[in-house]
Each structure stands twice: as structure tokens, then as C-alpha cells.
Point group: C2
């Protein structure tokens, strides 16, 4: 069969030599690497070495005949190349030699050539007429198992729901006309409602399963169908239905909730006003009680006081209207009232005006509109009166005496919606990452030679650095939001104040993260990412507004930061504020240990990969920022500046604190969850994702850590290098990691992802 018999040891070098000589020019430095390896290979005999070295003479390269013979040797072995191996070429060589000889071992010297010449599978897999084995079982993680970990106890609900999404009604199509698009989305919403998904978070009496956690999980999956569907669904069942469920009492539940859940009764959530945006407490719509008739009169006083961006406004029969409730001439603050908008023929009722918001950057399948009320009368029973009611004698009554507290209690019902918005953003990010990474695992661009194949996009260090930390963050945020919803639904925790603060911050950082990720994915897919058919473009338009609605991120982050400060129970507008701040500063300064210079320049891998270091860094940052803000505010107040002005002066500082606190929270939630992962291999993978997240975040704020002396120059550089290194380490697992998001093939319609 062979013209010449090679020893097993020589045979192992044949694939390497074959690759080297296929690449026309062997440079002096390359020869040098190979020569050194051969001379240090103790498995080779003197004559083996002589033979191998003879094939390294540039002036007298192997003859064509010999070259073809090598190819035949490789071909005859029938060995398949496994690209996913850590050292694919060395393993491949070992297998080829094993076909002809027994007991061939892995040769570390060949590994040296593979590493030092930077030979990657994409440089040579086209050279062999051998089948490329892309069997994911070799050294890979299981996408399926990862998906199970992410689904957690929602696995059944999610699997069943994903199955429902197989229906052709959910297959992706381009709708440019908003009316057609809105009608299609409405059909999808009704379809899901009929299957019981609308009522999911309501109690059994109203068609539901009391499963808010499951609702959040399926909500994220709606993003894989279409952003408009997710938002329309959320408006109908979460906001409109949710307002009845959470702000209403039994009479409202009995009358409306079942129909809301089946989408028989379409409704909207009319809170925001044109002129007042994020300032919900300052809305101007009034609901004035008339005791003679037992009715409430809803009125839009000024030109800019109309309701705005109200989702479902054009399809709705009824609205939950937020208005200043005026009883006996006294303003009792913002309350929600059910106001019918249209009759059974879908004609607007008297006194009601609705205007279409028109085309938007995205979400054109959602019918947003403006609503005006001109002295519209409804029975007083329409007041959603869980937290405040009008008594039979015509007086107002609430168990929550403090109007401030009452307002925030009512708004607290929005927290679930905020978690869902963050999850939807996360779903968009996962979807975009899946498309971009699958594309980058197929698409090739450039190389150093026209002779060999172009490089896989995903093998570029820059591409790895662009996408991998974003992928890791998706894992961290998934676990975090799951936990938040669990806490929010936990009835044993009656004081939801802290969760509200935490959700405010997380919603902000996660929806911003989602937008950045989708943008990076768009650019990473080049021109292909710009085409609607590849789905990223729509995600970009749809997810964009998530940073603004259900609470503007800038406003929410300041809320989160104030929450951190008020963990100390300070009432910021009260006279006692100054003394509370004083106490706060003392407490915090005690906790802020001075950083040991040895610690701030510790750069070994064990330390940098240690969760304790990450947690310490995040906690240090949050505490230090809290302390410095407290000190600044205290300084202003001492100088006689009113606290509102003082807070204005530290606004950018508050934003920084809000972000820092949210990042710390997310990371801690993630590592806490890692301890619940049974399989040690997958647990290690998750820990690696966490480490990448943590180091990447610390890296982003490196200027602050450096300013504080928390890390020194050397450590800062080491962290940067570790981030790049971790991206490379995760490179072989990217396919499994995007499969782990569990996005069904039938929803992944993007041609570039297939």
C-alpha cells in the first residue's frame, strides 16, 4: 500500500508537514519552530529526525509525488477531523497514525507546532478530503442541558408554550402597513388568550393559574416571534388586566377579569400624559366625584394633558385611566378608574377623542394612541378602589393615610411589568446573539493567503471580544430576573419596597444592555444584519423604546440610587435628613476598609477568577459611591441648599451609583444560583460566564477603580488581558451557549442563522 513505511512517530508528523507545505512559503522563522520541536522530540529516533528535517529544506521542498502520497496516507486512514478539539491538529495526527500503528500517544511536541504557528482548523480543514466531524458530543457542553438550567422550574410551562408557538400564525412575515400589522398581532394575542396564556397570572376563578413567574418566562419567548406581539400581550394582560387585578376589588375582578384574560374585553392602561411624561404624580387628568349622582367625571383639562403612547388605544373598548381623584373638592392623588371608550360597534363614546400615534421606529404592530376625555361620566363603582375608595356617605377613605405612600403602593403594582420589560429586552438580546453567533460560526472573511480558506468570523479575537462578554451577560441577567420575579411573587415578603428599587435599577441596566447588544450584533453581521429578513433590524427598532417606557431608565436609576441611600430609612425631604446623612456617613466609612497595596496589584489567575474578589470589588464600589454621595449632599444642605437642588447637583453621581448597585446585585444573584447547578462540568461553565461578566464590568469601570486606588495599573492591565483570554476560552462553547437559550428552530427564521 505504501511506497515507504513510516514509523508511528514519523507518521504523526505527516499531517503537519502536509499542511505546512500546502502553504507555499515556509518562512525562516516557521522552519525554526518546527526544527526546534523535532530536535526536542524524545520519541523520535535519530533517523526519524533526519528524515523529518530533510523535509524542511525550502530550497528542496518535498516533491509533488511525495506530497500526494502523504495525502493518500491521510485519506486512507478515514480519520475525521474534529474541529472542536482543544488541539485538533495534534489529535487528528494521532488518529491518523493510530490507523497504521498501535498505541500511538498524544504528542506534546506536535502540539507545540500547532500552538506556536497559530495553526487553526480553518487554515487546513479544506485541505483534507475528509469529512469534518461536527458532532457536538465530543468535548462540548449540551445546549439542551443548559436550556434546562435556564428554564429552571418553569421548564414545563416554557416547553409547552414553545410548542404552541409552532402554529403557523406565529411564522414571521413583514408587515409594512400598520393597520394590517396591528390586526395580525391582535389575532395572535387572541389565539394565545384562547389557550389560557392571557389569564396565566390571574387566579383560577378568572381562568388563570396564579402563575406570574411562568407568565414572565413565556413573555420572554414572545420576543422570538415578534416584539409587537410581546408588547401588545403585555399591555392587554399585564397592564390593563393587571390594573384590574391589583388595583381593583372583587366586584371588578368578577365583572372584568375573565373577559380581560380571554381578550374578549380589550383594554388599555392610560397613565402617561403628553405634558408630564415620567412625572406620573403630576398628571393633570381629573376624576371629580359628584355625590348627588354617585358618578365620577373624567376630564382632560389642558392641551398637553391628554393620555399619550397608550398601547391598545385603537382596539380597546375600555381603559384604566389614571387621574387626580377629587372628592369633596379635595385632591386625593392619583387613582385608576375604568372608563369605557367605545360601544359594541366600536364607535367612540361621547366626550372621548382618540388619535393614532402613527408610525414609530418599531413596534408598529402595537396601536399606540392619544386619548382625551371631555367631561366623561362613569359610575363611582368604576374606581379601582383597593387602596382608596369613596364611601357611601360620599367621603374618601383609604387605609394608607400618607398620600405619598399610597401613590407609591399603587405604582408598586407596575414592578411586575418592569421585570417583564427587562425580560423582553433580554429575549431580544438573546435572539440577536443567537443569530450573530450562528452567523459568525459559518461566515468566513479574509486570510493571509488566497490559497487557503478565509477565516471564520468567530475566530477573530476582535469578534470574540465583541460578542462573548455580551453573551455572558445574558446568562447573568436571565438568572437575576428569574430571581427578582420569584421574590416579587413571594407573598411571605409583604414589604416590596426593596424589590421595587432593585427592579428599577435592573430594568435600566438590562434594557440598555439589550440595546447595546442588538446594535453590536447588527454590526457584527455586517450588511446582512441590516436586512429585515435577518430579524436583528426589527429587534433594534422594537427594543429601543424599552429604555423609555415602563419608567425612563434615567429616572429609574436615580430612583434605585435613592433607594440605596434610603435603606437607612431617611426621609429625604424631611428636616431630619441632615442627621440621617451624618449617621449614614459614619456607618459607611467604617465599612470602607483601606485597600492593601498587595491586594490592589494581585494579578494571578486564581485571584482574578475568584468570586470573592469580584464581590468585594462590586461592594466596595457601591459603598464608596453611596458614601461620597451622602457626603456631598450633606455638604450642600449645610450650605443652605434645599434638598431638591442638592439632589439635582449630584444627579450624574446618582446614576453611577444606580448602575453600580444593579451590577453588584446581578452578579450576586448569579453566583448564588450557580451553587444549585448539579452537574459539575456545567457549573464550571456557568462560573466561567460569571467571571467574564464580573471582569468585564470591572474593566468598564476601571477608571473609577484606578482613581480610588482599588486596583493598580498592573492589575488593571491583567484584567483586560483576562477578559480577552476568557473570550478565547469560551470560543469552543459558543454554539452550545446560544443553543442553551432554547430559541426554537422554527422561530429562528433568519437566513443567516441557518
Amino acid at each position: 500500500m505504501t511506497k515507504e513505511k513510516y514509523t508511528a512517530e514519523v507518521l504523526q508528523y505527516i499531517p503537519v508537514f502536509y499542511i505546512i507545505w500546502s502553504d507555499d512559503l515556509l518562512s525562516a522563522s516557521e522552519i525554526n519552530v518546527v526544527e526546534n520541536v523535532i530536535s526536542e522530540d524524545t520519541s523520535l529516533t535519530k533517523s526519524d529526525k533526519k528524515k523529518l528535517l530533510s523535509w524542511l529544506d525550502v530550497k528542496n521542498p518535498p516533491k509533488n509525488e511525495l506530497f500526494k502520497f502523504w495525502k493518500q496516507l491521510i485519506l486512507n486512514s478515514g480519520v475525521k477531523l474534529v474541529e472542536q478539539e482543544t488541539h485538533p491538529l495534534t489529535v487528528f495526527s494521532q488518529k491518523v497514525a493510530s490507523y497504521y500503528h498501535n498505541n500511538v500517544t498524544f504528542n506534546d511536541q506536535i502540539k507545540e507546532i500547532e500552538i506556536n504557528l497559530g495553526i487553526q482548523p480553518n487554515h487546513y480543514n479544506h485541505l483534507f478530503e475528509v469529512h469534518i466531524d461536527v458532532d457536538n458530543n465530543s468535548v462540548q457542553y449540551s445546549g439542551k442541558l443548559i436550556d434546562e438550567i435556564l428554564k429552571g422550574k418553569q421548564a414545563k410551562v416554557v416547553d409547552r408554550f414553545r410548542n404552541v408557538l409552532k402554529d403557523p400564525i406565529f411564522s414571521w412575515e413583514i408587515y409594512r402597513d400598520k393597520e394590517k400589522f396591528r390586526n395580525h398581532v391582535l389575532e395572535q394575542v387572541s389565539f394565545l388568550a384562547k389557550k389560557g396564556y392571557g389569564a396565566m397570572a390571574y387566579s383560577k376563578a378568572y381562568g388563570g393559574t396564579d402563575d406570574m413567574e411562568g407568565y414572565a418566562a413565556i413573555f420572554e419567548n414572545l420576543m422570538y416571534v415578534d416584539g409587537s406581539l410581546a408588547i401588545k400581550f403585555g399591555v392587554q394582560f399585564g397592564l390593563f388586566g393587571g390594573s384590574i387585578q391589583k388595583l381593583g376589588t372583587k366586584k371588578h375582578h368578577d365583572k372584568y377579569l375573565t373577559d380581560a384574560g380571554t381578550a374578549e374585553l380589550l383594554g388599555c392602561f392610560a397613565m402617561t400624559e403628553t405634558g408630564h411624561g415620567s412625572n406620573v404624580r403630576g398628571i393633570k387628568t381629573t376624576a371629580t366625584y359628584n355625590h348627588n349622582t354617585g358618578t365620577l367625571v373624567i376630564d382632560t383639562p389642558g392641551d398637553n394633558d391628554n393620555k399619550e403612547y397608550i398601547g391598545n388605544a385603537l382596539h380597546s373598548t375600555i381603559a384604566s385611566v389614571f387621574a387626580q381623584l377629587i372628592v369633596n373638592g379635595k385632591n386625593e392623588g392619583v387613582h385608576a378608574i375604568l372608563v369605557p371608550l367605545r360601544n359594541e360597534n366600536h364607535e367612540l363614546l361621547s366626550g372621548i377623542k382618540v388619535e393614532d400615534n402613527g408610525y414609530k421606529l418599531g413596534l408598529n404592530g402595537v396601536d399606540n394612541g392619544k386619548i382625551w376625555f371631555k367631561q366623561v361620566t362613569v359610575p363611582k363603582e368604576n374606581l379601582l378602589n383597593k387602596y382608596g375608595t369613596i364611601l357611601a356617605n360620599g367621603d374618601y377613605y383609604s387605609e394608607i393615610k400618607n398620600p405619598n405612600k399610597r401613590f407609591f403602593t399603587m405604582l408598586g403594582t407596575l414592578v411586575g411589568g418592569r421585570i417583564c420589560v427587562a425580560r423582553a429586552g433580554l429575549g431580544g438580546a438573546k435572539f440577536a446573539l443567537t443569530i450573530a453567533i450562528k452567523h459568525a460560526l459559518k461566515r468566513r472573511q479574509f486570510n493571509d493567503s488566497v490559497k487557503i480558506q478565509e477565516d471564520l468570523l468567530m475566530d477573530y479575537p476582535l469578534h470574540q471580544l465583541r460578542l462573548t462578554p455580551l453573551l455572558a451577560s445574558a446568562y447573568v441577567y436571565h438568572i437575576t430576573l428569574d430571581k427578582m420575579m420569584r421574590l416579587y411573587c413571594d407573598e411571605t415578603q409583604p414589604d416590596k419596597r426593596q424589590i421595587e428599587t432593585q427592579v428599577a435599577g435592573l430594568k435600566s441596566i438590562i434594557t440598555w444592555y439589550a440595546n447595546d447588544t442588538i446594535q453590536e450584533c447588527r454590526e457584527a453581521c455586517g450588511g446582512k444584519g441590516y436586512l429585515l429578513e435577518n430579524r436583528i433590524a426589527d429587534l433594534k427598532g422594537d427594543v429601543d423604546i424599552f429604555t423609555t417606557f415602563e419608567g425612563d431608565n434615567n429616572v429609574l436609576l436615580q430612583l434605585a440610587a435613592k433607594g440605596v441611600l434610603s435603606d437607612f430609612k431617611a426621609e429625604f425631604n424631611s428636616a431630619g435628613f441632615s442627621s440621617v446623612l451624618k449617621l449614614l456617613s459614619t456607618q459607611l466609612s467604617d465599612k470602607l476598609s483601606t485597600i492593601n497595596p498587595l491586594y490592589s496589584n494581585k494579578t494571578d489567575k486564581a485571584h482574578l477568577y475568584n468570586q470573592k474578589f469580584h464581590v468585594h470589588a462590586f461592594e466596595h464600589r457601591t459603598r464608596r459611591l453611596t458614601y461620597t454621595i451622602a457626603m456631598r449632599i450633606r455638604g450642600y444642605i449645610k450650605k443652605g441648599i434645599p434638598s431638591y437642588q442638592a439632589f439635582l447637583k449630584v444627579q450624574t453621581h446618582l446614576m453611577t451609583l444606580g448602575k453600580a448597585y444593579s451590577t453588584e446585585l446581578a452578579y450576586k444573584s448569579f453566583i448564588e444560583h450557580n451553587n444549585t447547578i448539579g452537574d459539575p462540568q456545567h457549573k464550571a461553565l456557568f462560573e466561567k460566564l460569571g467571571t467574564l461578566y464580573a471582569l468585564h464590568e470591572i474593566r468598564k469601570d476601571a477608571s473609577w477603580y484606578l482613581e480610588q486606588g482599588y486596583i493598580g495599573s498592573t492589575k488593571s492591565k491583567a484584567i483586560r488581558q483576562r477578559v480577552e483570554r476568557l473570550c478565547t476560552e469560551l470560543r469552543p462553547h459558543l454554539a452550545s451557549l446560544v443553543d442553551g437559550f432554547g430559541i426554537p428552530d422554527y422561530l429562528l427564521s433568519a437566513p443567516i442563522a441557518n
Copy 2:
């Protein structure tokens, strides 16, 4: 007229007292501030002081009658409040007193109250029944004059062009259907072509004015009409016409250029291929010469080798096709050939297939498509043969012997297009900034009291910090791109290599900047920014792809970085590379002076605002990064790693260098231009914009500067504070600064900007 005569000195305090008492509660700390001021006011007599102090008793506040009397005093004076003053309240008080007395001077003590209580015009302008003087002539800069500075010597061309854009054909409308949109944009393009704007950059013989610089200036203005118009215009006249002009010879000019300029002949620029994207040299389309027939055969060999994203593909009659030119069986590299696509009835010619790219994230008014060629024959005269031709004897001939150099010479003709893309991106950013800032100068949100007006968005420190540095950058980049186009058009500079490198880097940082800016503006306008009618949404979709087309930013930045390295004439793939690197390192390390600790912690304003500091920082960064990259590559090559692999390993490092170099270049171009501004006041304003740009950029890279020890902690913090401070300093001039962009009112259709 008065019940009581006040002295001039007391009278000056009246408006202040009036404001204070209108705000129900005067806190202890507030009283304290006012008391201190009064007691230290040397202009007051003892009895004056006694009187003023008597009005500060919370337990015995001024009677309603007195309060009304004060109001009358102010009203009778007829003085107008000028919000734009640096200390509007103190000036207002001075003017009121001047109505009743002579020689009233500015009272620094009242200024103290104004500052320390943080009293801003929006807190009190509603209290006075006086007309608010928003006359921009007071202490303001002139938007018109700023516009003149930006237009520079293109003023006439730009003014005339803006006037042309008054035609109703350019008024903004929503087009959802791509066919209708494309036809409308085509009409707009033809309209401009008929007025001579298409041919502008061509020579007079072909209907033009040889004015590439003017072309770039008007091109930016097209963005104020619509992104699709700008791109379609650029494809037809810049890319298609430009390829004939720059790669063709007289016979091509005579035959095609006039018709291209008038849009009588519609053409496309068919370079990019599906499978090869940014790797233009690796395109697979072939143009094979047949000497027997004197023809070239154009062919698309494989499934993925079709032309892709070709703008104007559906409207074109002809295409400039880039293909591997094969003559006598030898591949002579990429050349452009004119290939007719359709006949006079707009039917595709035999062998040609065109497919619509369909809907995109933006630019849906541009007809992008894919094109396949199946053995399409054209006469050899269709070869655009300026840099390579086929002789009568059938041999190939080029004056540029090196195929590499020939390729880059041909591609060099794209540089003008890259400048234009960056300018279009900049135009998009300016448009978005104008809308967002005009909105923020009208829109109010929140305050500490329901009694007084909500705060103007633009008065929030956070809002200032979000938008002002972006505004400053627009000025810097405008001047930079103007200069680049001037250099590019300067025929006295025959070697355009350096300009190409510089444009590659600038195109990247500026189109990224444009996207970030548009995004920030979208979010800054909240839900309003999401509506198409407010124009930012379209800008977002349109400008997005600028980061990818005419050279992917990531690829271009690496090109720019390699350009910096090769200023030393290194040939990176040659054997001599290593020694060149050695030389390079030596040269650079000499230049890298050690930073004096005094310097790295200098925080005084004079130093931080000094251009010398900014230039030094930018130069230090570029040099240091160049040096460390060179050292890294050298290390790899010593270890035997091939240079292609070595460059791959420093890919992220190259990106950093590319950005640093481009930032340095932009800033230097800007300050150089500032010296040409005649009016000292406006020159100072431009210098302030430059300082904000420089400090903001240094701040963004603070972690690097800190790591290097170039700046210390104190300086780093001081820079951050200065950035915030500069934003506040520029606050009163924002209206003039956006007017300075010169966007005509008739194009600024966004309702929120009006």
C-alpha cells in the same frame, strides 16, 4: 405712587424677597443664607438691614398687602427678565431698582443668594407678570455667524443649495411601501441632477464645476431631507459616476459622464459580493478577456459570489462591475468594467439576474439588490482602464507594476466617498441634536413643588452631560472632515496614501459617534423621539449602516492603525519587517518622555483648559500605543509566529490605536482651524467646544491614562468635574449652537422641535 419709599439698596432685594416668600416655606438654612448675605452687604445702612431682616421672620411673614405692593413695584418698573443672563435674578433686581433710582450697581451679595439657593429662572419666571425677553442679541452668540464659520468658503454653494431644498418635492412624508419610496427618491435625485448638483464634482466639459468640496458640503445637507436621498444621490453620482470619472479614461467620460451627472443614465457600483464582504480583493466575479472577439466575459462563478447590497440595482441601466480581470489566462487583479444591465424598456439583458434585497432597517428609499452575471459579454472598451488596460495585441498593461499597489490605487478613489459617508453621518447627528436640544429647551419635567413650574429638561445636569459633549464633537468633526476633503482635493499632494489612512480612521469614529449621538437624542426625547414624525427614528435606521458600508469600521480602523505603523515605510509582509519594527521601537521610545508626577496631578483650570495639555495627552497616547503594538508584534515574530497571525493577536490593540490616532487628528484639525476665526468672542466659544471635546475624550480613556500613570487620581477626577462644568458653561449657548448648524426651518419638520 408708593405707600413707603425704599432706598435703592433695599429695593434691589425686593424681587428676591418676593420670590422667597412666594415659595410657602422658607427653611432655616435658607433664612440663614439670606441673613448672612444681608449682614455682610456693605451697601446697606443699619436701618436698611433692620428692615430687610424684619421680613425674614417665618413666624411673622410679610402680610399679603405688602406682598402685593412688592409685586406692583416690580410690575410698574416694566423691566423684562432676561433668562440668558449669567445671573438673571441679580440683573433683574438691579434693573427694577434703576427704574426708581439712579446709579444702581450690580449687587454681588444678591448674586450670592441667587447662587447659594440655586434659584434658576424657571423657578420664578412665572411669578412675574412681566414679559420674558428671549431676545438672542443680549449676551448670546449668533447662530448665523456660527453657521458662516462652519460653511467656510462653501457658504455660497451651501446657501444656494439650501434654497433649492425649499421645493415641495423635499418636504417630509412617510413612505412605508418601498416601491413608492424608491420612486419618490428617484424623482428627488433627478430634480437635483437637472439643477446641476449631480455633476458638481465632474469637470466643466461634463456639466460640472469641478467642485468636490462643495459636493461634500451639499451632501451633508441632503441628510436634512432624507437619508435615502443622500445615499441614492451618492450611489448615482459619487460611486457610479465617480467610478467612470476616476477609473475610466476620456472615451468613457465622453460617452457616459454627462448622462450620469444628469441622471439620464442610471448606474450602480457593483463591488461587494455576498460571500466576501469586506474582502474586496477576494471577490470571485471574473472578467475574462477573449482576444478573438475583443470582448470581456463577466461571470459569477459560485452561489455566494453574486454582487450584494448594490444600491440603485433596480433602477439602473448599467453597472460598474468589479471583477478579477483575466487576460491570457492570468489574473491581473480586481478591475472595474461597465456592464449594461437593462435595455431601453428596462428589461434585464440576457445572462443578468437581479434580486431585490427587500426591506431593511432603514434607507428603504434606496433600491438595494443582488446581481448575478452568467457569461455576459461586453466589448473590451468597457474596461475602465485608467490604471490597467488591454493593449491592441491582447496583452495586459499597467503603469503600476505592483498588483498590490495597483489595487490600492483603484480603491483609493473610494476615499472621497468615505469622507462623504462620514459627513452624512455627521449631518444625521447634527439633525438629531438640533431636534433633541430644541425639545429640551421647551419641555419641562418635575420639580420640588407643585406650586412652581416644572424644570426645563435642558436645565438638568444629567441632560446637559448627555447632550453637550456630543454637540461639541459635531463641531470638531465638521471642521476635521472639511479639512480632509480639502487635502483630498488638493492636486499638489500627489501621494494620497496618508489621507486614505486618516479618512479610514475618521470615517469609523465619526459614523460610530453619529450612531451613538442619534441614540442618545432618541432617548433624550423619550417617547416623542420614538415617533417617526419627529425624524430621529428614521435617522437611527438610516445612519446605522454607515458603520458598515464604504468599508466596515472595524476593518477600516485596523487599516488606519497599520497606516500609523507603516508611516515608517515598513512592508508588513516582507522579510525586513522585523528590523523595521526594531527601528520603530527605538524611535518611539525616545519620544516617550517620562511623565513628571507634578504634571500628572496638575488640576488647575488653566492647565486643564490648555490646548497644549490636550495635544500632549493625545500624542502621548498614540505614540505609546504604537510603541507597545510594535513591541508585541516583534515579540511574536521572534517566536516564529507568521506576521498575519501576529497581527491577528494584536487586533483589539490595533483598534485602540486606530481610534486614538483619529481622535488626535480630529482635535488637531479643529484647533488649527480655530486660529482662522476672526471674531474673538466666537473664537473663544469654539475653543471652549474644543476643550470639552478633548477633556471628554480623555475622560473616556481615563482608565488607560491612569494605567500609564499619565494622569493621577486627582487629575482624573478633576477632568470629570471639568467636563460637567463645561456643559453648564455652555448651557446658555446651546440654542445658538444648534442654530449654528444652519438646518433650515422648512426641513426641520419634527413637531417637538417647533
